[in-house]
Symmetry: C2
Subunit: 257 residues, 2 copies
């Protein structure tokens, strides 16, 4: 379902759609309201382009303007809120396992699924410490970095691995294959500063009854706390929790994986 980037670049319409969603990503719980200036900075787009996008999105209520040249996401999003929750929210039993894992280890716990050439966090239980891994639910993250990515690669068909290496020249399809195979064999992945310097993570596969990979359970935090002895304990805790979630199931979201 991915467009060759050349075709995408050639297509102004496609570019505008991508830009519109880039603009919408500027809004989150910490940034409910954004100024025009902030949106220009955030998107790196010309002011005229941002203004045009805001105009286009405001008429159907996707974007709203609470005051002169300040903007927020509009009530039209309510159109998809219940639907997105009903489809993508992880079930209560799986959440309980995530919370228990967070309580045991204190670090942020996430469940990631692969979407096309990205991974997206669909469930999160935040860590208890001040310095903790912060990941946005619903935000696309690369498939080429982080423990969760390695676990998800283990369930990718070769076509996806090839597409990933085509997308990023630094990524070799053969390396991805061997990496995916070894992660599959090990049953977990550990990374230190893989996606981001100073960030470590332990991840394990969540599987369907038929053994198919559905998602990755990941626990992440500062490398300073992911010491050799702790990591051994973390691997046990994460793999155990992943097995428990595989047993109770992810909920309705499984129908779309």
């Amino acid at each position: 379902m991915t467009l060759p980037s050349a075709a995408a670049a050639a297509d102004g319409g496609v570019r505008s759609v991508t830009r519109a969603f880039d603009l919408l990503r500027a809004f989150d719980a910490e940034h409910k309201v954004r100024s025009l200036r902030e949106l220009v900075e955030f998107t790196g787009l010309p002011k005229s382009t941002v203004v045009r996008l805001l105009s286009t999105l405001s008429n159907p209520g996707i974007i709203t303007s609470p005051s002169e040249s300040t903007y927020s996401i509009g009530p039209a999003f309510l159109r998809w809120v219940k639907l997105a929750e009903a489809m993508w929210e992880v079930g209560a039993e799986a959440r309980q396992v995530m919370t228990a894992l967070r309580d045991e280890c204190g670090e942020t716990v996430n469940i990631y699924i692969r979407q096309d050439l990205h991974r997206i966090c669909v469930a999160q239980v935040e860590g208890t410490t001040t310095v903790r891994s912060v990941v946005r639910v619903g935000e696309p993250y690369p498939m080429t970095g982080g423990a969760a990515a390695r676990v998800l690669l283990g369930g990718c068909p070769d076509t996806v691995l090839d597409a990933l290496s085509e997308q990023d020249a630094r990524v070799d399809a053969k390396d991805l294959r061997t990496g995916a195979a070894s992660t599959r064999e090990a049953g977990f992945a550990i990374t230190h500063g893989d996606r981001e310097l100073g960030a470590s993570a332990v991840a394990a596969p969540i599987t369907a009854a038929d053994g198919r990979l559905l998602a990755a359970l990941s626990m992440s935090g500062p490398t300073s706390r992911f010491t050799a002895d702790r990591v051994t304990q973390y691997v046990d805790a994460v793999t155990k929790a992943a097995r428990q979630i595989s047993a109770v199931g992810l909920g309705t979201v499984e129908a779309f994986l």
Copy 2:
């Protein structure tokens, strides 16, 4: 914030963004999954355009493809779910008043706010009967039809009334002004088959402490049940409920109105 339609039509990028959101509107609780054919029918766009939009939206997880040539909204929407709820969901006290009104009269109760040149339902308590008014939360509806629209027009600056008449040749700005003034004076609006044949509604204004119009409380159903005697009772019930909601407030949403 509205683009002159000429400029909009001239701008392929803007058109693509509008089309992308038109496509996303095909998905709701009753249509979690859509086939490519259904999406082509729903949007009235060429198949090639729909395929291109789906491709563009699938990479960041806005659209997902659960199986060959079937599509759903993707987990990237989770990015905005909590935010949209936190911003736009009507408070519990106001909801209680809506439910009490529905229980008293049996018809569907909605709260509408104006967004640019549309009205959008931000809260709904469905009627108890089989034949009932069905309105989609978050869906833009016209400002030029229905009792809720008339109430909202009562709070519109003349600039908006002018823009509405510019947008629709059949709408005269002067008529809108007089209509708005009379609705303001009456304190409620009653319509029969105004927006849709056989559909009736009674609406009343929800105001802020300073008297500013915030929203319209509307109760709607089949004209056959909105008989003269009933409507008198409905007007009392709706205006009373609207005053109660004005007193308890709409919740966080007020900050964006």
